[in-house]
């Protein structure tokens, strides 16, 4: 099945810094989502981005489907950005989201 790798596994930032999270996938995808999991376990939808670029406030994402990767940019990080960021994909004929292992982000004040 399709494999999803996220990097880095852990990231510590000072408040106000910028960061880039990467998601590599092993096969063609028709669906790619980025999530933020808060300390209580809730998965919050950040972007639905099977291709192209989207922006939402301080966050933006780019997916280059032909090269099988996606990037999540966080600018001017805040302590509330802390948590785990997951990339999840569906293959061409998939009916399930396949998740990466996540990136643990800690933003220090």
């Amino acid at each position: 099945g399709i494999q999803v790798e996220q990097s880095p596994p852990d990231l510590i930032l000072q408040e106000g810094a910028n960061s880039t999270l990467r998601c590599n996938f092993s096969d063609s995808v028709n669906n790619l989502q980025w999530f933020h999991q808060n300390p209580w376990g809730q998965l919050i939808n950040l972007f639905y981005i099977p291709s192209g670029t989207k922006q939402n406030g301080r966050l933006s994402a780019t997916t280059v489907a032909t090269e099988r990767y996606s990037l999540l940019y966080i600018s001017s990080s805040q302590t509330t950005d802390s948590g785990v960021y997951f990339c999840a994909v569906k293959g061409e004929y998939g009916n399930k989201l396949v998740f990466g292992a996540g990136t643990i982000l800690r933003v220090k004040s």
Binding site: N45, N95, K96, G102
Partner: protein, 115 residues
């Protein structure tokens, strides 16, 4: 509009017992999926239901079963609980049928502890 809701929030069971978890999708969504997330890992797919029929199943033993009701809510049942079943169980709903393009929205999860 209400998002995906799940109950209970937390649950403690002992080995060998049975558990039922419940999920109500976003209004208008007809597809419900269940995922298991063990500590330190990403969620793993268990089941997808659409129009009350199972449409996909992950690599989980037959102790795991689910169903979907006419109002599109869903139950996940786990029999003969093992310590390894301790996890956060997440429910997701999506609109638009079985299309691979559908965005999934997740509920807050049920945290199951098996002692």
């Amino acid at each position: 509009d209400a998002g995906v809701t799940q109950s209970p929030t937390h649950l403690i069971k002992t080995r060998g017992q049975h558990v039922t978890l419940r999920c109500s999708p976003i209004s208008g969504h007809k597809s419900v999926s269940w995922y298991q997330q063990v500590l330190g890992q990403g969620p793993q797919f268990i089941f997808q239901y659409y129009e009350k029929e199972e449409r996909g199943r992950g690599n989980f033993p037959d102790r795991f079963s689910a169903r979907q009701f006419p109002n599109y809510s869903s139950e996940l049942n786990v029999n003969a609980l093992l310590l390894g079943d301790s996890a956060l169980y997440l429910c997701a709903s999506s609109s638009g049928g079985l299309s691979v393009y559908n965005e999934q929205f997740f509920g807050p999860g049920t945290r199951l502890t098996v002692l």
